[in-house]
Symmetry: D2
Subunit: 291 residues, 4 copies
């Protein structure tokens, strides 16, 4: 399949490489050209503009946030202006429901198709083609994308014909991770003040009921208390909770733990935590308790 | 080892049976005599009073709450009045930190020893000797109890010389489960209102980041929406959150998610949910959102 | 003073009338022409377009929300394109901090001046020239506006040279009212379930420590339980809490009661309360408690 | 009327003095004898024991908390053992609903009567006979107490035949004050970070919608930032919120602002605020926001 790939950050670089390995013909674009080189060595064509990467049957986008995707999608040289009729824009970024809906309409109006296919997994999973793909869109478009999803992930989950539903599912997943961080933070604050060793406590949790990657990863970070360098920085976590709350507001769904997480991120950042990993909110309960 | 066992509910019956299987000489006591029969058939002696079960080197207690344990422990015919000097009272119940501290002092004054050893696991795990034992107390006493813990569980975790610390750890675990229920409830409310099928959504979660028993069990209950018969009834969950908050208050630790859970249980019970499984609080976010 | 007045809703109509009474030469504009008639009878000139009302030394705007003000301010025929150099745009609407900042910059760029001067008070206070004016902007501009503030209000409060600060102060006031509604709702839920008559209880509160208009007004609405017709509709209250939270987020200030109010409004509206007075959130605690 | 008065703290001393002034025959008791002297000079008889003050038609108690009242009420020499048949125990202290119910039953069993009559007002109001009395109990008993209430207060509010209802009303009042402190704290945090002067802001609030003593008093304390010496110490505020939550729990009423206040007091005290005025929780939002 002849496709474009926009955005070669930590995630995108791995995804594009795996698409190449699977035999697809990939034209890559990145704002700073340097990041295209490793891909070029793996056989990718390099596009100098967004438009040059939008000439195939599909174009994948994987960027940091709404702003970055809007900058690529709209405008004279953007995805919408460049993509052929009937081609598919596959958005893998964690973006707002509102932007996903806007893109759905804009692509329809332009005679193109839009699929939302955000992913779960960290850069290592992207490199190893072990991502989980959460996809939504028109069934025919999804069927055409299936080989691409297979190339980058270990499993795909199809949820709806409405693309933005995939974005809601992705956001809800990050909300659930945030809630684990906060709950662990409160439990560590309680047991820590009672004199329990954090690592021994975490060992108990993850050997028993909470034997899941998310408890091991984030519990380890909170117990260790080292939040730099950030694997996923606090402002990104804050952004995802903001987008979750915006999606929930549009549907009139109150989510009190999400509201609490919002307040935690504001506190963390107000107190200078901008460069820390988002799991640093898991220290605030302990801090409140005088530890 | 010659021991007594007090309380043959769903959990206690399995634990006592496994102590017998391991070759210990067990005298069982239960308020209603009927429940002692299956144990008698497995070789247990049956005591007619609490005192009659308190003649060995140790006595295990496994009852519903503080009130039940206080009724057994104090008074003319109770554990404290009956246990030989230097014998050990092993408390496996989920009780308050305050009662655990009170028992620690009372047993010390009586020349006896007290060990707190609550367990994680449901009745099936108790029957299969697959419990996780969380224990705290004087090292020598814990060493003597080790064979008993091995008989009932798959692994023991020792935390402190202060017995009540084991109770805090146990309570914190139930708090973490409650926080999973609430967070899942909010995520289901959001995705459900966006039209996502609850079972498909849960499949995604438990196939990926949240691949842990607690998400499968409670996610399944919330997705299914069937909360009767209760595996663990709402008033018991409410009690454990109450005890968690009491322990946290004694240590000056604010736990906002625990406060939220407290309010959720009050709402559930005010609206007639007394007989439901505690995971029914996972429907309140959806209800608030008009689903 | 020769001025324009944009927006003749319940508030604007009273304000414009009082400006006329004070001897100012007022040209009024309203989207639907019908509302201009009573003012014309009181001596106002009627403008057919926004631009026609923007020919004097100042123009007052008093509209429902950001969207309405943006529609009037920007565009070929808008305030910015029409107002003479050095003239003042006085914004009395409850708008976002972000829009206030945007207008400040846009007017400066256009060689005009911008003053934010939102008001506290209901339509009756507007009609009686009893509003409280909360103003911020360049001191010289505020000095020129002083006679206008005097014409519509009983007292003016000057807060800052930065116009948007007046908007923050106004929003914080509505947040405080919302917090009174919620706290009263919880107190009514508690005392009501204990059998206390709501009106007798309110009489106690407002005869003693809580002898303030806000307790009388909103306490009376909650005790009476009649929320239609709405004096200030739930979506407007929700909007003000949303703008408060947005302003707080921009400054990294966590406001947990504001977060709670946000969730309350979502619940109220999800359950069909869109047409009710915003004080209807004061019934949700009672509802949660099964009353 | 011949009565006893137990507890001559800041509040009780003023109340007893006013009962004397109104012509009642008052026998006073206080744990430390020194405080009885000023009353003796005003004509009071001094009792050496609780029992000696319990010989008239009624006895008033005004002490710090449940523990103090329980110590006076029960035991061989206590109120219950000493009061004549049909005499009335009037409890003015802010105590728990549970203790109020326990006293109601105990006095009934002893052939005595119990009236709960807590008061609103600070020591100056007690000295000036300007308290507000909130009373509940059997109508006949309340009628007999009316002259006593008149002697100490400016107005009485009768709520129920069940004494504990008066305690709930009193607690709900303190909860409402606490909610004002927290809401003001959040509003000050927001406006303060925007550069608004706290005293100017408070002047606006208390000149307009929030023209009530509670806003002036507590707003002034938060704006001033001086919380020592405490007018009402943080642990007392914490106790009243604890009792409010206990009363609400017994009635299955979730009160999220009360839960938030609970967490705020834990934070304040964990961080060393034990000796501060309870309004010091009004600084926590500012602190969280990095101010």
């Amino acid at each position: 399949m002849k496709i474009g790939f926009l955005g070669l950050g930590q995630m995108g670089a791995g995804m594009a490489a795996n698409l190449l390995k699977a035999g697809h013909e990939v034209t890559v674009y990145n704002r700073s050209l340097a990041k295209t080189e490793p891909l070029a060595q793996q056989g990718a064509k390099v596009a100098g503009t967004v438009a040059d990467a939008c000439t195939g049957a599909a174009v994948y986008s994987m960027v940091a946030d709404d702003k970055a995707l809007e900058a690529m999608a709209f405008g004279a040289d953007g995805i919408l202006a460049s993509l052929p009729k009937n081609a598919i824009h596959i958005s893998a970024s964690t973006i707002s429901v509102a932007l996903s809906e806007k893109l759905t309409q804009a692509h329809a109006k332009a005679g193109q198709r839009f699929v939302a296919a955000p992913v779960f997994g960290r850069p290592e999973a992207a490199a190893a083609a072990k991502l989980f793909v959460v996809a939504a869109g028109a069934p025919a478009a999804l069927a055409e994308c299936a080989p691409l999803f297979e190339a980058i992930g270990q499993r795909s989950f199809i949820f709806s014909e409405t693309p933005s539903v995939a974005n809601i599912v992705k956001l809800s997943g990050n909300f659930l991770i945030g809630s684990v961080i906060e709950a662990l933070g409160e439990a560590f604050a309680l047991t820590g003040k009672a004199g329990v060793d954090a690592h021994a406590y975490l060992d108990l949790l993850t050997s028993t009921l909470f034997n899941a990657p998310v408890y091991k990863t984030y519990g380890g970070l909170i117990a260790g208390g080292v939040f730099e360098p950030a694997g996923f920085a606090a402002p990104l976590g804050q952004k995802d909770i903001r987008l979750t709350l915006a999606a929930a507001e549009a549907l009139n769904v109150p989510m009190p733990i999400a509201s609490l997480l919002r307040d935690r991120f504001l506190t963390l950042i107000a107190q200078g935590g901008e460069t820390l990993d988002w799991s640093a909110i898991g220290k605030l309960a302990a801090k409140d308790s005088g530890q």
